[in-house]
């Protein structure tokens, strides 16, 4: 058995990541041709003082409306790939810490064992002051039954903490989801 290599240490993106990373910004993840219900997810990223974080970068990864990931390891033939939707998003935050993604509501995907995961979006969060990126998830507050059975949400003991992952529906397919780094409503981040 060969020795395992230890992964290279992470570092912060720093304050100037925009020059290297904004070329791949992708906030309009869905087009008119994309199957499913088009939604808009907006929010803000705030620090431990409740102040806007204007130099963060958010990346999203999600399944399409049928619950299929556009990736070689998702080979489920019964769930169609959507050629107009790849499931990846990237955005910097604006001066008010804000972000906005246009996407489609993902379908449910398999979880451990025979479980089914509620519709969700995986989030990677980068910023100045974050030496390694954080992972969290966006769930949808209007999927109460699916959320209640979700095997990952079920690992969060406190209901108030679970609620930090629930995007709240607004008018016209909009959802609101904020990222709070510290404090009473501190967002749940995952050890993955």
């Amino acid at each position: 058995m060969t020795d395992k290599l230890i992964p290279t240490a992470s570092a912060t993106v720093g304050p100037y990541f925009h020059i290297g990373l904004t070329w791949l910004n992708h906030t309009e993840m869905a087009t008119a041709a994309t199957a499913g219900r088009q939604i808009v997810i907006t929010g803000r990223v705030v620090d431990g003082n409740g102040e806007a974080i204007p130099d963060a970068m958010i990346e999203l990864w999600q399944a399409n409306a049928a619950g299929r990931y556009d990736h070689p390891e998702d080979g489920r033939e019964d769930k169609p790939v959507d050629r107009s939707f790849h499931g990846y998003g990237r955005s910097r935050t604006d001066n008010d810490g804000g972000f906005r993604f246009v996407t489609v509501k993902p379908g449910p995907v398999p979880g451990p064992g025979n479980t089914l995961q509620a519709p969700h979006v995986v989030v990677a969060l980068f910023m100045r002051g974050l030496l390694k990126h954080l992972y969290t998830r966006i769930y949808f507050a209007d999927e109460a039954a699916a959320n209640a059975a979700d095997p990952i949400l079920g690992l969060i003991d406190d209901e108030g903490r679970r609620a930090t992952l629930l995007a709240q529906p607004g008018p016209d397919g909009t959802y609101r989801w904020d990222i709070v780094m510290q404090g009473d409503n501190e967002t749940v981040f995952f050890d993955v």
Partner: protein, 234 residues
């Protein structure tokens, strides 16, 4: 559906913590509550795959983005992207960004009193080849001051961003140069607990990579997270 094969968890000491008080910006931005441990599911072991159509060969040469040549020490930076078992990670996106040779970023928020170089944006990207190799041509970045503490200076470094085969292998890091006198004073470099892990973010001068009469060569290999041997337990 069978359970997925997950990715190996962090080796203690090999990665920086979220809260590292000497780096002042971590204090109000690091989570204060423990991260919630979750198993890897299909959502974690998949991730974005980028085609070659977005990246052009010239994107890997940062010395040819202006009308003229940038000022500074021309260098070739090459290496391999490997997984945790030492296998190459082919066809994966590598993004880099850096200061110019005076220590100034081509960024509106960088107000360091050092000259911009009209021939240097400091951004590049490439896709690794079938053997996991990447190669950039650039200018050696300068050190620069920042306001973390009195008389704070960042060692010379180049920022890297990589994807690898899944969202779990995502990596953003900084690569340093051998023998930098600023290492003992830099809280970002020293945020990596283990000495051996710090040494692994320093590139090596490579005479074999150096091209006579043209550019110095530096080599740096990058290791992404490796895979578990067996499917996750529930």
């Amino acid at each position: 559906m069978a359970d997925v094969v997950g990715y190996r968890r962090e080796v203690p000491g090999s990665q920086p913590p979220h809260l590292h008080a000497p780096y002042a910006s971590t204090v109000k931005r690091a989570p204060t509550r423990p991260l919630v441990y979750i198993p890897h599911t299909l959502s974690e072991v998949t991730g974005p795959v980028f085609g070659h159509d977005r990246v052009r060969p010239e994107d890997a040469d940062l010395t040819k983005q202006g009308a003229g040549q940038p000022i500074g020490e021309r260098m070739i930076l090459a290496g391999r992207v490997l997984d945790g078992d030492g296998r190459p990670v082919p066809h994966t996106l590598v993004e880099i960004w850096q200061a110019n040779s005076t220590g100034r970023y081509h960024h509106e928020r960088d107000q360091h009193d050092a000259p911009l170089d009209p021939n240097f944006t400091g951004t590049g990207r490439c896709i690794t080849d079938a053997e996991g190799n990447y190669r950039f041509v650039t200018i050696k970045p300068g050190a620069y001051p920042w306001r973390n503490h009195h008389n704070a200076w960042r060692p010379e470094h180049i920022h890297f961003s990589l994807f690898g085969p899944s969202f779990m292998t995502r990596l953003v890091t900084q690569m340093y140069f051998p023998g930098d006198p600023l290492f003992p004073y830099d809280p970002i470099f020293n945020g990596i607990p283990d000495e051996a892990a710090r040494q692994r973010v320093i590139c090596q001068f490579d005479l074999g990579l150096t091209e006579p009469e043209w550019a110095l060569g530096y080599r740096w290999d990058i290791v992404l997270r490796g895979r578990d041997a067996t499917p996750m337990e529930k």
